[in-house]
């Protein structure tokens, strides 16, 4: 009974604090949410394989794994108007074993504090450990009570699972309606999977906790058969916080590849759950407040914070740094002061002792950051879209510019690395190209005026590098490999058909440059990138090489060097939009 009273007091105290946070105070700490994964019943054998694999997956490291034995949910059609209620009823029933697991309920119905205390120790920070050392009561064990109020049940529903063959069939069916229908090339084998995930939170607030202790708490020292029996019907309030949907593909080429063992269809199927889980965790992490990492800026310049592998911190993970402001009526708000990205990640797995090493972050935008400011994760997709223009002495390498970069630093564990594609398109009209011919025919004579388009396309690798403290300015060395093409619409008085291979020319290019960028906001940057390129001689789409015999005196479109290696410079001005 004494134990019960202590627990009740502690729960009241800490849930009181949590309530304070919802009352105008900013919640500034990350308490590891626990995740229980549940599933909609599989509809066929493939889904059964997938879900069985899914069941055995560990949850991402930033969460506590709170798996329970609970039957799958009977399938409910999306069109069923009672779907929401049916789902909620199912989850509400699951809340019983979820709470039972927290308190390690045994066959006699006794609860104990072991798991709560264990998880509390693991979630505790250095500051908690230090304060606990200076205290007579264990502050760390008390944290456990708050963790129960961060119990989430994720219900996964496979909405569509189909093979790549079915995918091609669907694609063909769609394309058949089009005029120039050609069947899809069936090069891949494997599966596509569409899924939906519903995130429910089990409430264990002050009033719920009090009712739990009053109606159900039984332990070895305080046996109570009535209470133990009452537990069978116990459920707890649940709330749908958000839902997310996504698609995952697990496929491989059908062609035989040397020195590569191909996966079986079952192996491809079994690869899907991990991808669903990471996709869902990312999406939910953006939507659910409790899933966002929160921490104090420990030191500034270099910016450090006590997060690490325990919280699944990844290279270049984005955080906003805030200052907390309070008005005269006590309401708090956050004012963004800067943006930082994880640079070096410390292994902090284990129980905090007060001396764990912080991870280092690179500020990439904003004003000066000070220790004690509030940091919160703001995960981005790592996709950057670029638009602008490229100027070059050879206009065929310039023009309207679009591009996209994908951040790959998370996978290679080195900050700032991107893989991208850059495109420059430039139309030309009534331009003299000189005498250009292949081995078999003259394509353009020096008297002909030409019109058409040029395109320069390159896949690139680049690294954003920061040399200043606040990171508003960056350098981005970039190299690439690509093609530069000419396609003609008119030569002299002749119109050129778009499929005329003699008038479609391609060179290989090797561009390189160093971008100098300014981060205007977390989403927008302006960049100027001076660069150089190496271009090979061009050939037609009929694989015939070109030669130039009388280049125009004022050659701005690179026709003078069409048949040989050439070099030149470019300057790219772009606006970058980060997602």
């Amino acid at each position: 009974m004494k134990r019960y009273l202590i627990l009740l007091t502690l729960v009241s105290f800490f849930t009181g604090l949590a309530a304070q946070n919802t009352n105008g105070k900013i919640n500034t700490r990350y308490l590891r949410p626990s995740i229980t994964m549940l599933f909609a019943e599989p509809k066929d054998a493939d889904e059964a394989i997938l879900i069985n694999k899914f069941r055995n997956l560990e949850v991402p490291g930033k969460f506590d794994d709170h798996r329970i034995q609970f039957p799958d949910m009977k399938p409910v059609e999306n069109t069923n108007p009672a779907k929401k209620t049916l789902l909620e009823n199912y989850i509400r029933k699951a809340s019983n074993p979820v709470i039972a697991k927290w308190w390690e309920r045994d066959e006699q119905g006794n609860f104990n504090y072991t798991l709560v205390a264990k998880r509390a120790s693991y979630t505790a920070t250095d500051a908690d450990a230090i304060i606990s050392r200076g205290s007579n009561t264990s502050r760390i064990e008390m944290l456990g009570e708050q963790l129960i109020d961060r119990s989430y049940i994720l219900l996964y529903e496979i909405t569509d699972l189909y093979t790549m063959d079915e995918y091609y069939d669907r694609l063909d069916a769609q394309n058949r309606k089009k005029k120039d229908y050609t069947p899809a090339k069936r090069t891949e084998e494997g599966y596509n999977c569409d899924y939906k995930v519903y995130a429910y939170k089990v409430a264990f607030n002050d009033s719920v906790a009090a009712e739990f202790y009053n109606r159900y708490w039984v332990d070895a020292q305080n046996p109570d058969k009535q209470k133990a029996a009452a537990w069978a019907d116990a459920t707890f309030p649940v709330r749908l916080i958000t839902e997310a949907a996504g698609s995952v593909r697990s496929s491989q080429t059908k062609a035989k590849e040397k020195n590569k063992v191909k996966k079986t269809m079952q192996e491809l199927l079994e690869d899907i759950p991990a991808n669903i889980q990471s996709g869902a965790a990312f999406e939910l992490g953006r939507k659910i407040e409790d899933f966002k990492l929160k921490v104090t800026v420990f030191k500034a310049y270099p910016v450090t914070a006590k997060l690490g592998t325990k919280e699944d911190l990844y290279t270049d993970q984005r955080f906003y740094v805030y200052e907390i402001e309070q008005d005269r009526s006590g309401n708090q708000s956050t004012v963004r002061k800067g943006v930082v990205r994880a640079k070096t990640i410390n292994d902090n797995k284990g129980i905090a002792t007060g001396t764990s090493l912080p991870s280092a972050f690179q500020q990439v935008q904003g004003k000066r950051i000070y220790p004690g400011m509030f940091m919160e994760s703001k995960d981005d997709y790592g996709i950057i879209l670029n638009t602008g223009f490229v100027s070059s002495g050879n206009k065929a390498m310039g023009g309207f510019h679009i591009g996209a970069d994908i951040r790959i630093s998370r996978f290679i564990k080195k900050p700032g690395w991107h893989f991208g594609i850059d495109v420059a398109i430039n139309p030309f009209k009534n331009v003299y190209a000189g005498d250009i011919e292949t081995d078999t025919r003259t394509l353009i004579s020096s008297a002909d005026m030409c019109s058409g388009n040029t395109l320069a396309l390159a896949v690139t690798g680049s690294k954003e590098m920061y040399f200043t403290r606040r990171g508003n300015i960056y350098l981005r060395p970039q190299v690439g490999l690509g093609i530069q093409t000419y396609s003609f619409s008119e030569v002299g008085s002749y119109s050129i058909a778009s499929d005329d291979k003699d008038y479609s020319w391609t060179s290989y290019i090797l561009p390189a440059g160093i971008g100098l960028g300014y981060n205007i906001s977390p989403m927008l940057s302006l960049e100027m990138k001076p660069g150089v390129y190496l271009r090979t001689g061009a050939s037609t789409d009929n694989k015939e090489s070109l030669s130039q015999t009388a280049a125009p005196t004022d050659d701005k479109w690179g026709f003078g060097t069409i048949g040989k290696f050439s070099t030149g410079t470019t300057n790219t001005f772009s606006l970058k939009i980060r997602f």
Binding site: T9, L10, S12, F13, G16, K25, I26, T28, R29, T125, D126, A127, A129, I130, I131, S132, R133, G134, S135, N136, T137, R139, K294, V295, T296, V297, F298, K299, K306, E323, I324, E325, Q326, Q332, V335, G354, Y370, P371, G372, M373, F374, M375
Partner: protein
């Protein structure tokens, strides 16, 4: 000659700028000292301290958070001697060490020295954090910061010292 004049001008300008910075910092420190002299702070308990100590959070105010952190120790000891604090659930409140509301004025000289920068008060207080003020304890209010610092005050040692100095009566001295 003109070159020398320019050099002198630039040097003077630099000196003025530097003096400005120094004055500003000194002024901020003076303001914080003044706040401390007026004892503008709040105390709340954090947890039951280990034997003979209180674990409290002191909220101090300053335009510069760093200065507020510096003042926290002084404020904490002052609070324990003269103000005490009210309890929260699980942590009982504590009365001040002195019951004489005029003690600070009556013994102004003693306490001026006691709370001087680097004074004796420092013996009885330790900051209890991992090296940074927690984010929820660094709050900007209007044009100043409210900074909460968790400190452990060695109340047993503090009481004994004040008893020895005749500032407070011993617990065994009766009524």
């Amino acid at each position: 000659m003109q070159k020398m004049k320019n050099t002198v001008k630039i040097t003077c300008l630099l000196l003025i700028v530097l003096a400005g910075f120094a004055t500003e910092t000194t002024a901020q420190k003076r303001k914080a000292d003044k706040d401390t002299q007026n004892w503008i702070y709040e105390i709340e308990p954090v947890a039951v301290g280990s034997q003979g100590s209180y674990l409290i959070k002191v909220w101090s105010y300053s335009k510069k958070p760093v200065i507020a952190i510096e003042q926290a120790k002084k404020n904490a000891v002052h609070g324990i001697i003269f103000k005490g604090f009210t309890g929260i659930q699980g942590v009982p409140g504590q009365r001040p060490l002195t019951s004489n509301p005029n003690l600070e004025v009556e013994q102004a000289e003693f306490f001026k020295n006691f709370f001087a920068d680097g004074g004796k008060y420092m013996k009885f207080v330790n900051i209890t954090n991992d090296g940074a003020v927690a984010a929820e304890d660094r709050i900007k209010m209007d044009k100043q910061y409210k900074i909460g610092v968790v400190v452990s005050v060695n109340v047993a040692g503090l009481r004994k010292d004040l008893e020895d100095a005749g500032m407070v009566r011993g617990l065994n001295s009766g009524f």
